[in-house]
Amino acid sequence: MQEIPTRILLAKIGLDGHDRGVKVLARGLRDAGMEVIYTGLWQTPASAAKAAVEEDVDVLGASFHSAAHMTLVPVLMDELKKLGRPDIPVAIGGIIPPDEVTPMKDAGVALVFETECSMEQIVTEINALATQVHKRRKTAIENGDLDRWVEALKEGDRASVGRVLSWIEDGATVDDLARRLPPVDSKTIVVGMTGAPGVGKSTLIGRLLKELRRRGKTVGVVAVDPVSPITGGALLGDRARMTMNAGDEGVFLRSAASRGELGGLAPTTGAMVEVLRRSNVDVLLIETVGAGQNDVTVRQWASPVVLLLMPGAGDSLQLEKAGITEVADVFVINKADLPGAGKLEAQITETLGSARPVVQTVASHGQGIEELAEVILRHGGKSDT
């Protein structure tokens, strides 16, 4: 296994919907211990490059099945260059005719995988590439590049924010942070979004993002997903569930694996929040694994903390326990079109009083999202003063 887990972005660029290969690959790479971020379908070269830069992945992998790679790959390379990261290695696979392998390598592609490649071969070659990238990153930091990246944070420079976040993920200590990061002068509203798996957090955040952007707010997202305790790998799928704003300049999205932490957060989440606050986003959403009771930690950085519930999921029991319900500032009843939403709302007010707002949403249809945005912005504004 790699000393630092390999981080790879898997992208489907263009209109082609053949995603069997990319999905099998995502699972295979996860099971080999990698942190895999999947973009979902229909990316443009620009949105895929933006994702790779924000995630500061070791490798950008793209899958092509419709012969569009000859057109799209050179554009992708240009987009990486425009964002200041022509160094992110690109690997491609899918249907790449044998005589097009050389032109693709000439265009700057690091690895070309044919349809018949075994998972083992792909894993080995990607890991080897990632090891080189990790070495380069270490050298760059030793040579003082970190100061330049930190300096560029306040301009919100995407590439620099991505790189500083990786420095943190690689194990920067609290002291390192305090020494390196400038003081905060932004008014970022930090929102914790938590709730049990399956309540629809990512879908809700996707909709909320859209609504916040409609109101002209810039938004950062840190989405935390669990790692496998056995392989150390993780499949970070939040990007795929928030595709609507993938290419939006006013959005910065970072996926994080919880790397061994039992609660809903990664050991580095707090530090990542500090970095993103310094990049001057208006609203920062932290999506946590949603272990429920363990998520009180999110309180340290976030206000408001939003707890997502859904009808008929044993919530009355959850409500009676101490923990997250005590630290939550806002309750969201998602999937409110299911029976029992009214009853759940009554239970919340009965058990916990009526001081804290309860918002009913149907995230999949966009219902209740405007109200939620309103509540969040109002609360954030309040706690700021």
């Binding site: 209109l15 069997r20 099998v24 979902g40 569009a68 005719p97 018949e116 795929a240 569930r241």
Partner: protein
């Protein structure tokens, strides 16, 4: 009894089918003790049609050999169509490029690099007029592989026929128009599931009234299987989709026997020979029962499951590509022994590019050898009574029923899509198969085993880059000379009719005749129907 049924197929090993179904060393009469001939099999042409929908099958009429074609501009595909017709082909099958399949115009930002690559580019009626220039639509049956914008492309087809002076009731052919499987597998959806189905029902309703010889939907399992499903999942989800369209059409007020005879199916014919044959036989039996028992169909034709088959594209490899010829031949034989009504055999190079003329000819010859030399056409359903095949048929039927029951319990197919169930089942199966190959439990000739390094490359067909700019230029010319006011009126009517739950077909035909583009009409529909975010089911 060897009957072992689980909705979640087991681990794939050396002694299982490729779907993970355990196979015994030997099958005996004990494996089919409950098989009553009259009720479970019956003679060909008799309910429940397990043995075939026709009494004489291929003795009377061979399956249709229908090869899918389309590339570049409408002019280029028109030339290919005429070439095929001159060679004696009586049916055409149109492949559209990705932008058209996704309802986007050739000049859309997301169309970059995809125009005319995997099929013909169509933006306006002008392209359809060119596509069928010199081809009388009253003389040929035309199949169109199109889904999210199917209603619009059907409107183009009708408008072209109107202009040619061909009466609508003489139009023959099929529109794939199966949007549900796009949510399961192929990912060419645009509107949300329920709204998409409403468009499908609009076309069924319109065709039932005006185009009695036309098949408005081809309910497809092919893509589900290509996405990595098992044979049982392909069967279950396809029939589940069919049941949903039937239910929705009945809710629209249509009589089951008025539209069900024109529903057709499209299945994959994959590597596992006996399992595939059993799948086709089980499909017929299941559909007949569902139509009769769930919907009270009276007309036997409503109970017929007629299907087109295509050999499995995902089973082909670019290593030792000539080996693909053998794969295709066995798969084609399974489709024929399973009683298909029409068949597309893949070309050996289709895993790498669009087929060359030499490759497509060999693919067609494969069907001809099967039809004229092997003798498999001499008798109907030749494997009936095989202990193994009948046992497999029973198992597949039971597995599909279990899945369909489960989907019913969830609240139907739309709910099963929205909660991600179908996609998860397919993705799990795809990964299980890939692991079986990695472990060496399933071997691939020329890929995992019997590899040789000194391969000579085969000739490949290349589509030039100049098509895209030419097509975009043509589109701009059409836009410049059309009547802008007429386009605007038609687009407003499309939005209004979609919102008011009126059948959108008349408005789409008006839009087609005003030379509104596919992209413009999709946007007009989207205004009322909304757009589905892929993130909701990823």
């Amino acid at each position: 009894m060897a009957e072992q049924i689980s909705t979640h197929p087991g681990e794939i090993g050396p002694n299982t089918t490729m779907s993970g179904r355990p196979v015994e060393t030997c099958y005996t009469p004990d494996d089919i003790v409950e098989l009553d001939y009259e009720t479970r099999l019956a003679d060909p042409g008799e309910f429940p049609f397990t043995r075939g929908v026709h009494k004489e099958m291929y003795r009377k009429r061979l399956w249709t050999m229908r090869q899918f074609a389309g590339f570049g501009s409408a002019r280029q595909t028109n030339e290919r169509f005429k070439f095929l017709l001159e060679r004696g082909q009586t049916g055409l099958s149109t492949a559209f490029d990705l932008p058209t399949l996704m309802g986007r115009d050739s000049d859309d930002q997301l169309s970059m690099g995809e125009v005319g690559r995997c099929g013909v580019a169509v933006d306006t009626l002008a392209d359809f007029e060119m596509l069928f220039d010199g081809i009388n639509l009253g003389d040929v049956s035309v199949s169109k592989t199109i889904n999210a914008p199917a209603a619009i492309l059907l409107a183009f087809y009708i408008a072209t026929a109107d202009k040619q002076g061909v009466p609508r009731n003489q139009l023959r052919g099929t529109c794939q128009n199966d949007i549900l499987k796009e949510f399961h597998a192929q990912n060419e959806f645009v509107f949300p599931p329920a709204e998409s189905v409403r468009l499908v029902v609009d076309t069924i309703e319109f065709c039932t009234k005006e185009m009695p010889q036309y098949n408005p939907v081809s309910i497809s399992g092919y893509h589900i299987r290509e996405a990595g499903s098992t044979a049982g999942q392909e069967l279950a989800f396809t029939l589940g989709d069919g049941l949903h369209y039937a239910q929705a059409s009945i809710e629209r007020g249509l009589d089951i026997d008025a539209f069900a005879p024109r529903l057709s199916f499209f299945f994959n014919s994959h590597n596992d020979f006996f399992e595939e044959i059993a799948k086709f036989r089980a499909a017929r039996r299941l559909w007949a029962h569902y139509m009769k028992e769930r919907f009270g169909a009276q007309n036997e034709r409503s109970m017929w499951l007629r299907f087109h088959a295509q050999t499995a594209g995902c089973s082909l490899y670019s290593k030792q590509p000539y080996v693909n010829l053998m794969r295709v031949a066995y798969q084609a034989m399974a489709a024929v022994m399973g009683g298909c009504q029409s068949l597309h055999t893949n070309s050996m190079d289709e895993t790498i590019c669009l087929p060359t003329e030499q490759a497509v000819t060999l693919a067609l010859r494969t069907q001809q050898v099967l039809a004229y030399e092997t003798g498999v056409t001499n008798t109907v359903d030749p494997l009936a009574g095989s202990y193994f095949v009948e046992s497999l048929t029973n198992q597949l039927e039971a597995e599909a029923r279990e899945y369909i029951d489960q989907i019913d319990e969830m609240g139907g197919m739309i709910a099963a899509i929205e909660n991600g169930y179908v996609r998860r089942e397919i993705a799990d199966a795809a990964y299980r198969y890939s692991q079986a190959v990695e472990r060496g439990d399933k071997k691939l000739v020329g890929v995992t085993d019997f590899v040789h390094e000194d391969e000579k490359p085969i000739d490949l067909l290349k589509i030039g880059n100049d098509t895209e700019s030419q097509v975009v230029e043509d589109l701009q010319k059409v836009k410049a000379r059309r009547d802008g006011a007429a386009v605007k009126t038609a687009l407003t009517r499309i939005t209004d009719d979609a919102r008011a739950d009126r059948n959108v077909m008349p408005a789409l035909i008006e839009g087609a005749k005003a030379y509104a583009t596919v992209g413009e009409m999709m946007a007009a529909l989207e205004e009322s129907l909304g757009r589905f975010d892929t993130g909701q089911i990823s």
